[in-house]
Amino acid sequence: MSETELVSRPAPPSIWHMYRAMVGVGIVCGLLIVTAFQVTRPIIERNKAEALQKAIFHVLPNASTSATYRLDESGGFLVLEGKGVGAELVYAGYDDNHELMGLAVEAQGMGYQDVIGVIYGYSFAEEAIIGIQVLESKETPGLGDKIESDPEFLENFERLDVSLRDDLSEMANPIVPVRHGEKTHPWEVDGITGATISSVAIADILNRSAQYWMPRIRSHLSDFQGDFQGEE
């Protein structure tokens, strides 16, 4: 405004005016932000928890309750209390009779375009991966994103063998990707024609994650059998 300019030229506004403006606006803004945060926080957290629970139940089809465990420094698993910042988490799923059905584990790795994040379900009974859901992916639509939808590909994960050697030190067979139609072993992942990179990426992500988790989980199986009842 030209008027302000005329006034301000000879006598610039005092420091006090500037502080007043900045601090005033700052306080109001701060109040606004904190209010919004406080109002929305419970809703957001509920949403997130629901989404996670949905994913866990998706990859562990028979589970109806779940509990979150964290990997302890000792190598054992403890029920998570409070926030799990920085901790390595697994989710245990229980059926209606509070029987442990399996674990859901998050894993991620590089895909064709960007990081792919998945959650997969591990069944103790079958010693196999029994379900998978892609949480995060920017794979090419119509091609790479078939890893989320292609029924033939998803069939791989209805029972993907991740059994361990007898000494529980490592996996008996690594998960390996093969070309479409050439799957002969239960630990092989049948690829998608035309989306080789993405399907190979999934197999690699699962393999790496399983190699890390399976020996740890199997050797502390009892940690999950506690009398804790998962939340609905």
């Binding site: 919004a36 991620q108 790795g109 590089m110 895909g111 064709y112 375009q113 990081v115 990179i197």
Partner: protein, 193 residues
């Protein structure tokens, strides 16, 4: 902690997920000023530099915010820090190297509103990169922005002499070229894998 190797981060930020051509960050200056090669290169250099500095700052802020458990201040503190970083960098360069200031100076204020900088800070926090990863990410992103700008500048300089139809002149043409460049860069998909 993401396990991506530094090389993967760099290739992804600069080629596969180019900030300009795949994330559309910093599009306004990309379309607006890059018709002279020299300007494009210098501007790219300035952006990379500021990216590097603000990436480091953002990393620090994120640590602080986690420590005091105030995630709601993320955006406001990032933008404040970036704005003041640009100011500081400008003053610093002016003091230390007047020559460099003459080369970069006029671009620095423009960078404040360059979404690529804020985007970088937000992405690196979302991805939870470590300090070194952040630096490599910033360098990769800066290289990608510079490369996109330089290519665009060359193409536009060439087109200045062409008999472009009236309808396609200007922004529409620049967008088409950007689209073609984006298609071209798709060829690099999977390199980071």
């Amino acid at each position: 902690m993401p396990s991506e190797s530094l090389w993967t981060i760099f290739i992804n930020a600069s080629l596969v997920n180019n900030f300009v051509l795949a994330y559309f960050l910093g599009i306004c200056p990309f379309l607006g000023v890059s018709s002279k090669l020299e300007t494009a290169t210098r501007m790219g250099g300035a952006v990379t530099f500021v990216m590097l500095v603000s990436s480091v700052c953002a990393f620090g802020i994120q640590l602080l915010l986690v420590a005091i458990d105030a995630p709601y201040l993320k955006l406001i503190s990032f933008i404040a820090v970036i704005a003041s970083t640009v100011q500081l960098v400008e003053m610093f360069i002016k003091k230390v190297s007047p020559a460099l200031f003459r080369a970069l100076g006029i671009f620095l204020p423009l960078i404040t509103t360059n979404c690529a900088i804020l985007g970088l800070a937000l992405f690196q926090t979302n991805k939870g990169y470590s300090f070194v990863q952040c630096i490599v990410y910033a360098l990769g992103a800066g290289a990608g922005v510079t490369r996109a700008r330089v290519l665009m500048a060359g193409l536009r300089e060439k087109l200045e002499l062409a008999e472009v139809p009236d309808v396609t002149k200007g922004t529409a043409m620049a967008l088409m070229i950007a689209g073609l460049l984006s298609v071209t860069f798709m060829g690099f998909g999977g390199l980071g894998g």
